[in-house]
């Protein structure tokens, strides 16, 4: 968990782009996809996103390892949509209670592709963006208060520690006779107690970290930045790429006549 927050030696081209421009590009693409449930805009975006993988240092194996819950969720969502959506067109499968027709299959496929196409940019962004660089950009370029941004960044480092602490507290409590096995009620009670223990430790850790940061002069005063967050010509390409992807998805769906605004119903 702690390692996954790092880039692990990823030296791909997109790691050098400014996190803010990447964020903006991701926002553009997902915003367009969120507007319509259709398989054309989603597939176009999905194909373009897959083409970007090498630039972000992401491989299909890595994607599957990090994003398999998302992929599964999109597939299950698509499947249930194609079963439950109102039928139209030729009926393909009819098994008593549920049926799948051409129309519902199209809607289901659109739903699944759209889910993937919306989730993928976020996976792409995280795989080529270091949290520290993101914080630098948010504070220096987006002018968010540095106290808030750096505080969040430091706290995120503790999240990984808490995962380890959770395991330790679980064992320590078993050694006191608090079973995490047994009936559902016993499990809930055990989990609640363990959460309380974790909360106590989290607060202790956080207050010690706050003292450390304050003792290093952290506060509201003016500060300098050891790492300057800069824009380069690469960021123009990133932003431009975002516009092109969003535009391509939209145009393709319009051209194919499948554009289907979410709130207008089908």
């Amino acid at each position: 968990m702690r390692q996954e927050l790092n880039l692990q030696g990823n030296r791909a081209l997109l790691t050098r782009a400014n996190p803010l421009s990447k964020l903006a590009a991701v926002f553009l693409v997902t915003a367009v996809l969120a507007l319509s449930i259709d398989w054309v805009s989603a597939s176009v975006a999905l194909i373009l996103e897959l083409l970007l993988f090498p630039l972000a240092g992401l491989t299909l194996t890595l994607l599957w390892q990090r994003g398999w819950p998302l992929i599964l969720a999109a597939t299950v969502g698509g499947w249930s949509t194609s079963i439950l959506a109102p039928d139209s067109g030729k009926t393909l499968i009819d098994v008593g209670l549920w049926t799948m027709s051409e129309g519902s299959l199209e809607l289901g496929a659109g739903f699944m592709l759209r889910g993937l196409a919306i989730a993928l940019p976020a996976v792409l962004l995280m795989s080529c963006t270091d949290p520290t660089d993101l914080a630098d950009a948010l504070a220096q370029k987006a002018r968010l208060p540095h106290r808030f941004v750096l505080g969040t960044l430091a706290a995120m480092r503790l999240v990984g520690l808490l995962a380890e602490e959770w395991q330790t507290i679980g064992m320590a409590r078993r050694a006191r006779g608090v079973g995490s096995r047994g009936s559902a009620l016993q499990r809930v009670k055990a989990t609640l107690g363990q959460s309380f223990g974790l909360l106590v430790q989290a607060i202790r850790r956080a207050s010690r970290l706050a003292v450390t940061m304050e003792a290093r002069g952290f506060g509201d005063g003016t500060r300098t930045w050891a790492r300057e967050s800069t824009y380069s010509s690469l960021d123009v390409w990133v932003l431009g790429g975002g516009v092109v992807m969003a535009g391509a998805a939209f145009a393709a769906a319009l051209w194919a006549g499948t554009w289907n605004m979410v709130w207008l119903g089908s």
Binding site: R2, Q3, L5, N6, W64, Q65, W68, P131, T132, L153, A154, R157, G160, L161, E164, Q167, T168, I169, M171, A172, R173, R174, A175, R176, G177, V178, G179, S180, R181, G182, G193, G197, V200, Q201, R204, R205, R208, L209, V211, T212, M213, E214, A215, R216, G217, F218, G219, G221, T222, R223, T224, W225, A226, R227, E228
Partner: protein
């Protein structure tokens, strides 16, 4: 690296002077003052070791000097607010108005690291002091070299550092601020012996180079004695006495106050507290066999799921075989990262083995099955008791007495042993206290007592003497020797050679290579 050497001289910031006049501090919500009537002068460049029993206000003083105690006497004047009296000045000014003049290192290495890359973490303090960007990186390189971490790339992840390295990194972060005053609050209490020396030597090098004033709080006097030129002993505040009990050069203070310091539990050089001798120390291999590990491979990780594949955990140590026998002590020793604690937790039925097996004999399992990991929690605690390194992890109630009664009540046992344990581990006066509010030594004694209240035949302890004062240490060693004589098996994971010697028994030494039991 020519740039570094040119800037070398600039690292020598002006050493800070400290002056306390009748200074006192009461924490918000506390009835008693943490420090009262402190008069103390420390000259620029002096190196002071601060000693005293717990509750003498050592940490409070360091926090105040670092300017992180917060504001006392706020305008709102609420009754619950903290309270300051007298004056405490650094270079004639209030510490909290002098950001960066003092650098503070605390005990827990994990919370001394702020950012996730080595270079960024060192730069953090300098950034906050608004040092120009180019100067920051000069300072970062220099500070990393001074603490002996210059071999690490600047983007090295801080989570991959050892405890000793984390503390040295924290020192580098402090040095990059060019402070005139370095404050160390038990900087080596959580480290193994190698880590302790690593940090001590780095501090010595940096002080020689910068000439900064040093104030260090630490139980283990021998580690710091040769580095400091003055020892100040504090005592808990009373309205009449001065807060400073003794003050002078190390040798003089240590010889004058040796008996007083040992009585207060300070680890004075060359002093090993007396402990109870074992009345019978059976030869290795005797005593009924209770628990055996065969060709064990251990890991804290569980098998991980990568997509559809299940990847087995990577063992930290493998091929471990050991036997736990009634009335016998087994000490698990070896360097940090060798998997000692992981092995002990696996032996104690808290972690499942990656390979090999842990089996309980009939004398221990009494019908519960051969594999301790499969036992229910209630079955486990009356067979194998485990005391964790951090006592707070094991507290499950809000009162000392409830903590002790928890195990016996759960098992439906009588509670007759509880009174005996309260008495024996000096917890009788604390029965109504909240476990989290106890001192370090009290927490340790309580955590041992709570586990023993369930009557386990095997007791497993993870670093029981870490950070403990000499009094708690001696009590613990004596108590465990009594248990051993009464037939309990004691397994302890420890770096402490004197503790191992006091308990006797066999030693399982784990190296980076697979371990072989004696």
């Amino acid at each position: 690296m020519t740039a570094t050497s040119q800037h070398g001289a600039s690292l020598a910031a002006r050493p800070a002077a400290i002056s306390a006049r009748g200074w006192g501090w009461r924490h918000a919500g506390r009835a008693k003052a943490a420090v009262r009537a402190l008069d103390l002068d420390i000259q620029p460049g002096e190196r002071v070791l601060l000693l005293g029993p717990s509750g003498a206000g050592k940490s409070t003083l360091l926090h105040a000097l670092a300017g992180v105690l917060g504001d006392a006497n706020d305008d709102d004047g609420e009754a619950g607010d903290s309270d300051e009296s007298g004056s405490l000045l650094v270079d004639g000014g209030y510490p909290r108005e002098q950001r960066g003049r003092a650098g503070l290192m605390q005990q827990d290495p994990e919370t001394q690291v702020v950012l996730s890359r080595v270079g960024d973490d060192v730069a953090f303090g300098a950034e906050n002091l608004a040092v120009p960007r180019d100067d920051i990186w000069t300072r970062v390189h220099e500070a990393l070299a001074d603490v002996g971490l210059s071999h690490l790339p600047l983007d090295h992840p801080t989570s991959a550092l050892s405890g000793g390295q984390k503390q040295r990194l924290a020192l580098a972060g402090i040095l990059a601020m060019r402070p005139g005053l370095i404050l160390l609050d038990e900087p080596t209490a959580n480290l193994d012996p190698a880590g302790v020396l690593e940090v001590r030597d780095a501090v010595a090098r940096c002080l020689d180079k910068t000439g900064a004033t040093l104030v260090v709080v630490e139980h283990r006097v021998d580690v710091w004695k040769d580095l400091v030129d003055r020892i100040v002993v504090l005592q808990p505040g009373s309205s009449t006495d001065s807060a400073v009990l003794l003050d002078g050069p190390p040798d003089r203070v240590l010889s004058e106050a040796r008996s007083m310091l040992t009585a207060a539990g300070v680890w004075v050089p060359g002093y090993v507290p007396d402990t109870r001798q074992r009345s019978s120390n059976p030869a290795a291999g005797t005593g009924g066999l209770l628990l055996a590990a065969e060709e064990l491979a251990v890991s804290r990780e569980r098998a991980r799921r990568k997509g559809f594949r299940k990847v087995p955990a990577e063992p930290v140590q493998q091929g471990i075989s050991a036997q736990v026998r009634a009335g016998q002590a087994l000490a698990v020793t070896g360097p940090n990262g060798a998997g000692k604690s992981t092995f002990a937790l696996t032996l104690a039925g808290l972690l499942g083995p990656v390979a090999g097996k842990v089996s309980a004999t009939v004398a221990l399992s009494r019908g519960a099955g051969i594999d301790p990991y499969q036992w229910k929690a209630e079955q486990l605690i009356e067979r194998v008791g485990t005391v964790f390194q951090e006592p707070e992890h094991q507290f499950v109630t809000g009162k000392v007495l409830d903590e002790l009664l928890f195990g016996p009540r759960h098992l439906g046992h009588g509670t007759e042993r509880v009174d005996e344990l309260l008495e024996r581990l000096r917890l009788t006066d604390l029965v109504d206290a909240n476990p989290y509010t106890l001192s370090g030594g009290e927490k340790r004694r309580l955590s041992v007592a709570t586990v023993l209240a369930a009557h386990p035949q095997v007791l497993v302890l993870d670093e029981p003497t870490f950070g403990q004062d000499a009094n708690t240490w001696a009590e613990l060693a004596s108590f465990l020797s009594e248990l051993l004589d009464a037939g309990t098996a004691v397994v302890s994971v420890t770096h402490d050679a004197e503790f191992t010697a006091a308990l006797g028994g066999t030693e399982l030494r784990m190296a980076a290579a697979p371990a072989v039991a004696p």
